[in-house]
Every structure is written in structure tokens, then in C-alpha cells.
């Protein structure tokens, strides 16, 4: 028995070593540095207590970051779930070309973000971009906007591109989990006279609860982590209209050389990530209790 115990620790030690160096150490580093005024380069650091945190809460950009995070999470999660579940249910009922559509819809998920961002920045460009040229061609000149340069539309564009990119992922998650619903449930429901739409709303949607939930949590965390598209397309601008936690941390660390502030912001981001994860754990255990009750 003793030997097996040691073997257990031996087998997990490589992963733990990586975890300690590449996850735990950076987090402790950020917590420590968040109490100092430091430009990230010079050796001297001034202890300033919680001043970095006070500055963050006084920073008007902070309001925009929180707003962008919430708006982005709300729209991407709702729209992707709606599209994902619609497409998945088309494919589960094997409409013509299902396999082909499924393959195509997933392509944006695997495409390199820097390439996607590059193409979309051309499409949305004000003067020669394809979108505005198309709008002008059909006489809708008044709809030709400065899509990425106008604070009113920039966030909407980033959200739309994100939905373009990730709908395939939601679709595949729903599809994979719909395959797991036993078909005899539907057969029984059909015998009982349930119509297809009733089956969809009363059987499919409720049984996919854990999928809705996983995608919701992943969407919320994904919005918190959102970096690639805003960085490539707008650099967080115009006037912080597309600024997110990671883009602002990046700016503070490597452009403004305010590492104390960047670390404090990182700590706040981690606290939000923990709250989201805690919600996941709580709902997950409640889900399991429901399942236990159902099995009794």
C-alpha cells in the first residue's frame, strides 16, 4: 500500500511541477507586485499599500472595461446558444448536407485569430472596405459607417466577429450532447402524442441543461479573457470602447510601464474568474443532487 501511495505522487508530480511554476508562481507574483509602485524594469520598487487598487477604482476606463465585459458576455452567450442549438437540432434531424454544414460551420473556430482579424479589418475598413462598398452599391450610403473607428459601433463589430468565430463551437457541443439523449425517450413521447416542437421544448432543451450551463460558464470566462480580436482590430480603442481586462493589462504592462497597476488589475480579474468558477461548482453540485434524486 505504501508503495502505491508514493507511486501516485510520482505520477502527478510532473504536472504539479508545471502547475506550480507556470500558474501558481505568476499569480503570487501579481498579488505581491500589486502592492508596489513599479515600472516593471528598474530594480527599485516602492511599497504603496492598496494605492494601486484605489487608483483602479478611480480610473474611468474601469467602468468601460466592466461594461464591455458584461455586454460582450451577454450578447455572445445568448446569440451563440440560440444559433448553436438551432443548427444542432437541424443536424440531429439530419437535414440534407448536415455533415457538410457541420464541417463548414466549425472552420472559423480553428482559423488563426490573427488571420481572421486581418481579413475583417479590411472588410470593415471605412473607405475601401467590402462592407461599406456593398452598402454604397445598393444605395444605402447612409448605413456606411466607420465601423471600427466609431466608439458607437466598434464593440458591436467585435461581438459580431466573435459570434462568427464561435457559433460552430456551440453548435458542436449541442450536437455532441444531443447524440447522447436516448432515442426511446422521443419514441415514447411520440407514442404519447407529443408534437415535434413539444418534444423539442419539453425534452431536448431541459435535458441539455448541463450543456447550456457549460457553455454559459465558458462564455463568461471567455469574455473575461477576451484579447485577440480587440487587440488585432482596435487595440482596445477608440476611446476604450473595446477595452477588456487582458488588453488593458497588456497596455499597462508593456506600453504604460505601470506594472503595479497591471498586477492589481490582474488580481481583480482573477477574483472575477473565481466568482464565475464558484458559481459553476455550486450549480454543478446542485445538478448532481437533482440527478441523485431522479435516480432514487
Amino acid at each position: 500500500m505504501q508503495r502505491r501511495t508514493i507511486a501516485g505522487y510520482m505520477f502527478i508530480s510532473p504536472l504539479f511541477l508545471l502547475f506550480a511554476i507556470f500558474i501558481i508562481y505568476p499569480i503570487i507574483f501579481n498579488i505581491y507586485v500589486s502592492f508596489f509602485e513599479w515600472n516593471g524594469i528598474r530594480p527599485e520598487m516602492n511599497f504603496t499599500g492598496i494605492e494601486n487598487y484605489i487608483n483602479i477604482f478611480k480610473d474611468p476606463v474601469m467602468v468601460k472595461i466592466i461594461r464591455n465585459f458584461v455586454v460582450f458576455a451577454f450578447f455572445t452567450i445568448i446569440i451563440q446558444a440560440f444559433l448553436g442549438i438551432s443548427f444542432a437540432s437541424f443536424f440531429i434531424r439530419s437535414i440534407k448536407g448536415s455533415d457538410f454544414y457541420r464541417t463548414v460551420f466549425y472552420i472559423p473556430v480553428i482559423a488563426t485569430p490573427a488571420i481572421i482579424g486581418n481579413i475583417f479589418s479590411r472588410i470593415l475598413e471605412t473607405n475601401r472596405g467590402q462592407l461599406n462598398e456593398a452598402l454604397r452599391a445598393i444605395g444605402l450610403d447612409f448605413l456606411a459607417m466607420q465601423w471600427l473607428a466609431d466608439p458607437k459601433y466598434a464593440l458591436g463589430c467585435i461581438i459580431a466577429i466573435n459570434i462568427w468565430q464561435w457559433t460552430g463551437y456551440s453548435m458542436l457541443m449541442y450536437y455532441a450532447n444531443m447524440l447522447n439523449i436516448p432515442s426511446d425517450i422521443y419514441e415514447a413521447a411520440t407514442v404519447d402524442g407529443a408534437r415535434p416542437y413539444q418534444q423539442f421544448f419539453r425534452i431536448t432543451i431541459p435535458l441539455l441543461r448541463s450543456t447550456h450551463f457549460t457553455l454559459f460558464i465558458m462564455g463568461a470566462l471567455g469574455s473575461l479573457k477576451c484579447f485577440d480580436l480587440p487587440y488585432i482590430l482596435t487595440k482596445g480603442g477608440p476611446n476604450y470602447a473595446t477595452e477588456f481586462f487582458p488588453t488593458y493589462i497588456n497596455k499597462k504592462s508593456f506600453e504604460l510601464f505601470d506594472q503595479g497597476g497591471a498586477s492589481a488589475l490582474t488580481v481583480i480579474m482573477l477574483v472575477i474568474a473565481m466568482i464565475i468558477t464558484l458559481a459553476q461548482v455550486m450549480l454543478y453540485t446542485r445538478n448532481n443532487k437533482d440527478k441523485e434524486l431522479a435516480e432514487r
Binding site: R3, R4, A7, G8, Y9, F11, I12, P14, L15, F16, L18, F19, F22, I23, P26, F29, N30, G40, L83, S86, F87, F90, R93, I95, K96, Y101, V104, Y106, I107, P108, I110, A111, T112, A114, I115, N118, I119, F120, S121, I123, Q130, W164, L172, M173, Y175, A176, N177, N180, T190, T214, L221, K225, D228, Y231, I232, P246, I249, S253, A262, I276
Partner: protein
């Protein structure tokens, strides 16, 4: 169950519209990669692609990408298999606590790691090398995929272990000779996910490697955005993008069949 006519027409229509929406940007890239318009003097046609290989030297960038991804796959394969095996088949004190501790790693955004790790990487003189990215990527992907692989090991019968143990095999032999080979279908799914994520990662790669000739393919298109002009016409830029997208597109064509299976494996219990 038979689909009604209205359902078929409506669903096909929605799918076709969304398909066009999905493919438009990529189709645009492909068409424009043969064009001569824009700035400068691109000849158009396949000449754009010849120019890519003559004037834009992307080989070192591909080498970096393949080194990073190859190294990451190797480390993830070894480390995740060992840990998943231990958490599934061995008993030791504090097992569950340690397992959930590792799973919290999944929620940590990359932005929280970059600056401290950049200091480490620079301190070790590893910045501007592929090695700066292999271990951070491997850690993140190993943590992401631990659940998937542990669930897979859970599905393998415990009797295998017991029988081999009675025959006198030690734990390491049981792992390497019996359970690891049986876990390969699960591992292949993990490695596909790892390939996709580490090939496309931007945030860490652009900080750790700032020498243009060394940057991985996930960062290179940013440079194209800034360099566009007389000497770097739009047509050639699009041809560069196509070349950059090609490896992952080919990989996807081969891997996509496995991916539905992979998602079910990971999602059922997660």
C-alpha cells in the same frame, strides 16, 4: 421521424445563409490572393504565391510554429497521461483535493501569467526561442485536458490493474505496457485540442518572441497588417494569409471526424 416540408425548407435556407456568412471572409481572402489590385505592383495569379516564397521568407516562422506545437504535444502527452492515470487508478492521500486544485488552473486567464513568465523566460535567456512557449502552453493544455483523459481512464476496467499486479508487474510497467496503450484513443483527442490551441495562440507568443524572423505563424499576420504598402501589395498579403492558414486547415480536414467524439468525452461529465 420525418421532417415536414416547411421544416426542411426553412432549415436549409438558414444553413445556406449562415454558410455564406462563414465562408465569405475566407473566400474573399482566397480570391484576393490572386488579385493584382491594391497598392504596389502585384502581378496577380499564381505569381503572388511565387512572390510569397521569394520575398517573404516564412520558413523560419513555420519552423518555430512546428517546434512549439511539437514540443507542446510531447510534454502534454506524457504529463497529462501520467496524471490522469494516477487520479483515475491509484489511491493516495489528498487525491481529490489535489485534483480539484489542478482543475482551478483552467479558469486562469493567460493575461495573468504573461508578465511574470516573461521575466522568467528573459532571465533564462529563452525569449525569442520556441522553448519559451512550449512549457506554458503545455501546462495550460494539460490542465484543460486532465478531465477528458481522466474520464477516459475511468472507463477502462480496474481488473486490468489488479490482474497485472498479481502477475508481479509494478505500477510503472502497468502504466506503460497496459493502460497507456489502451488510453491512446482518448489521448489522440487531447492532442488534437492541444494542436489547435497552441498553433493559434497569440497573446503569449507575441510578447515572448518579438524578433520577426522567429515569430510563430499565429503572430506573423499582425506584421502584415502594418507592412502593407508599395513594396508589399494587398494581393501578396492575402497570399501570405492563405499560406499561413494552410497547415491548420489541412490538419482540420484530417482531425475533424474525431472532434465530435472528443467533445462528448469531455462534456458528458464536465
Amino acid at each position: 421521424m420525418k421532417n415536414s416540408r416547411a421544416y426542411v425548407i426553412l432549415s436549409e435556407l438558414v444553413c445556406i445563409v449562415f454558410m455564406l456568412f462563414c465562408l465569405y471572409p475566407l473566400g474573399l481572402m482566397l480570391v484576393k490572393s490572386f488579385s493584382s489590385g491594391g497598392f504596389g505592383n502585384a502581378k496577380g495569379g499564381f505569381d503572388n504565391y511565387i512572390k510569397v516564397f521569394e520575398t517573404v521568407d516564412l520558413w523560419p516562422n513555420f519552423v518555430t510554429s512546428f517546434t512549439v506545437v511539437g514540443g507542446t504535444l510531447l510534454v502534454v502527452g506524457v504529463v497529462t497521461s501520467m496524471a490522469a492515470f494516477a487520479f483515475s487508478k491509484l489511491n493516495f492521500p489528498a487525491k481529490n483535493v489535489l485534483y480539484y486544485l489542478l482543475l482551478t488552473g483552467m479558469m486562469v486567464p493567460v493575461a495573468a501569467l504573461i508578465f511574470p513568465l516573461f521575466q522568467v523566460v528573459k532571465g533564462l535567456g529563452l525569449n525569442n526561442t520556441a522553448f519559451s512557449l512550449i512549457f506554458p502552453y503545455a501546462t495550460l493544455n494539460a490542465l484543460f485536458n486532465l478531465i477528458v483523459l481522466k474520464n477516459f481512464f475511468d472507463g477502462l476496467p480496474n481488473e486490468l490493474m489488479e490482474a497485472a499486479h498479481i502477475d508481479g508487474a509494478n505500477t510503472w510497467r502497468i502504466f506503460t505496457r497496459i493502460l497507456f496503450p489502451l488510453s491512446l484513443p482518448g489521448l489522440s483527442i487531447v492532442l488534437i485540442q492541444t494542436f489547435l490551441l497552441s498553433w493559434n495562440e497569440l497573446q503569449m507568443a507575441m510578447i515572448f518572441i518579438n524578433k520577426p524572423a522567429m515569430q510563430p505563424i499565429s503572430v506573423v499576420p499582425l506584421r502584415f497588417m502594418q507592412n502593407i504598402g508599395q513594396s508589399f501589395p494587398l494581393g501578396i498579403m492575402y497570399a501570405c494569409l492563405v499560406v499561413c492558414l494552410l497547415p491548420i486547415a489541412i490538419f482540420y480536414l484530417f482531425a475533424q471526424r474525431l472532434m465530435v467524439r472528443g467533445l462528448t468525452a469531455g462534456a458528458v461529465k464536465g
